[in-house]
Symmetry: C2
Subunit: 263 residues, 2 copies
C-alpha cells in the first residue's frame, strides 16, 4: 500500500510572528500535517493586498514555535505567501492558513485585512486557504474556542479538498467553546466604517490626522457574517477574487451606448 | 428655473501627485465639473487596499495644476479618498476618478492596484468611481487616446448616474486614438503572476530578495479585459466589493456537514 504523504500546511498572519494569534493557530492544527510558518516580522494590520515592490525583502529563520520550521519576513502578508512558495517550500502547500487575527475581519473588513489578503493570495496561486479572525483585539484574548473550530475547519478542508481557488473567511465571536452555537456559512454583510479623522497639532503647530471610524452595519439580513457573530456562531464566508460585477456589467451593456458590439 | 449645480469630481491616483498620468486625467475631465485633487505625495503602486493606522497622516495644499484645488497626502490611495471626503470636501463628490495609472490594471492586477483600491474605496462610500490605467509604464507615455476615452466615460457616468456603488476598471491599450477600435465591456480575465524572486547578497553577504514575476494569462475567453486590450479596445470591467463567492457557498452548504442549519 502506498504511504499517504503528510499534507503541508503554510501558516501566516498580519499581526506579526510573535502575536498570540498565530501561536494559537499553530497549536490548533498541530498534528494535521507538516507545518511551516512564514509571517511578517512586525504588525501589518490594514495592509490589504499590498505587495513590496520598491524595496527588497529579507527572510530570517527563527525559532519561536519549538519544533516547527518558522521564518519571519520584512514584507507584507501577501509577500510572505509569495516568498514561502517560491523560496522556502519550493512547492505549493496543501493549504494556507492565516491568523488568528486579533480583531474582526467580517463584512467589509475582508478588503482591508492583511490576514485575508494573504489567504486570497494563496487561492490566486491555486492553494486552498482559510483566514481566521477573533472579534477581540486584546493581546490576552481567549483563543480556546477559536482553536477548537479552526481545527475542525482545517480538517474539513484537508479531508474534502475543495476547489484549489477556495478561500474561506472565518470569524470567531468572543465566546467560550460552550457558548458557541455552531458554525454558519454566510454572505459578507454590507457594512462600512464612517470615517472621523481625529485632528491634532504637533509641537510645531502643524496639523496631522489619525484615522478612526465607527463601524456601521447597513445589512438587516440574517444570512450575513455580522448576524452570525452577533448570535454566537462562528461565521464562514467563501471569498472570490474575480471582482467582476456581472449584474452591473449586464445593466451597463444595455443602458450605455458607448460600448462596441464587435470583436 | 433652478440652476443646475456643478458636479464635484474627486481625482486621485497611486503614482503620486506629480505623475504625468494624474495630470492627463485632470486635463481629460477639465470643464465637466468642479475638480479637486487629493493624491499621495509619493508613488504608492502595489499598495492594494492598504490603510494607514499606525502613524498619523499629513495633508498639504499644493499648486501643481494651475487653477485646480489640489492636496498631497502622506498616506495610501485609500487614505486619500477617506481624507478627501471627511476633511476637504466635507461631502461626497459626485464621482471619484483615479489614475491614469502608468501600467496595466487589468485582470488580477485589480487586487494589487492602489489606483483601483482608491476607486473601490469611493464606491464603498457610495461614490460612483472609475479607475483608469494605461498599459505603458513609461513616464513619457502617450496619454492622448486615454484622455479622449476617459472623458467619454466620465461624461457617461455623470449623465447616466449609475448605482452609487458602481466602480469601473478601465484600461487603455498602447495605441493612438485612430488605432483604438472602441470601448468594450468585459469580465476580469483569470490571470496571475508567476513569481520569481531575484536573490542578491548585500555588501555584508546577507541575502535579500526582489519581487519580480511573469504575467501569465490562463483565460482563453474573448470577453475578458486582457483579450480586449490585446485587440486594441479600451476595456471596462465593472467591479464589486461584495467578495462572497456565492457559488462556492452553495456548494459547501451541500457538501460539508459542519454547518449549522438553525438560526
Amino acid at each position: 500500500m502506498e504511504e499517504k504523504k503528510e499534507p503541508v500546511i503554510l501558516v501566516t498572519n498580519d499581526d506579526g510572528i510573535t502575536a498570540p494569534g498565530i501561536r494559537n493557530l499553530v497549536e490548533a492544527v498541530r498534528g494535521l500535517g507538516k507545518i511551516v510558518v512564514v509571517a511578517p516580522d512586525k504588525p501589518q494590520s490594514g495592509m490589504g493586498h499590498a505587495i513590496t515592490i520598491g524595496i527588497p525583502l529579507r527572510l530570517h529563520k527563527v525559532n519561536v514555535f519549538d519544533d516547527i520550521e518558522a521564518y519571519q519576513c520584512t514584507g507584507t502578508p501577501v509577500d510572505c505567501v509569495k516568498l514561502a512558495v517560491d523560496k522556502i517550500l519550493h512547492q505549493k502547500p496543501d493549504i494556507c492558513i492565516s491568523g488568528i487575527n486579533h480583531g474582526a475581519n467580517h463584512s467589509i473588513n475582508v478588503i482591508y485585512s492583511g490576514t485575508m489578503s494573504a489567504a486570497v493570495e494563496a487561492a490566486i496561486e491555486s492553494i486552498p486557504s482559510v483566514g481566521f479572525s477573533l472579534l477581540d483585539y486584546a493581546l490576552e484574548a481567549d483563543f480556546s474556542a477559536a482553536r477548537k473550530y479552526a481545527r475542525i475547519i482545517v480538517e474539513q478542508m484537508l479531508k474534502n479538498r475543495p476547489d484549489k481557488h477556495c478561500v474561506l473567511n472565518v470569524n470567531f465571536p468572543i465566546a467560550t467553546p460552550e457558548e458557541i452555537k455552531g458554525v454558519k456559512i454566510c454572505r459578507q454583510a454590507y457594512a462600512k466604517y464612517e470615517e472621523d479623522f481625529v485632528e491634532r497639532f504637533d509641537p510645531h503647530n502643524r496639523k496631522y490626522y489619525w484615522l478612526t471610524g465607527e463601524f456601521v452595519n447597513f445589512d438587516e439580513g440574517t444570512d450575513t457574517d455580522v448576524w452570525a457573530l452577533a448570535n454566537n456562531y462562528v461565521s464562514v464566508v467563501p471569498v472570490q477574487f474575480d471582482l467582476t460585477h456581472y449584474k452591473l456589467k449586464k445593466q451597463l451593456e444595455n443602458d450605455w451606448n458607448i460600448f462596441s458590439k464587435e470583436g
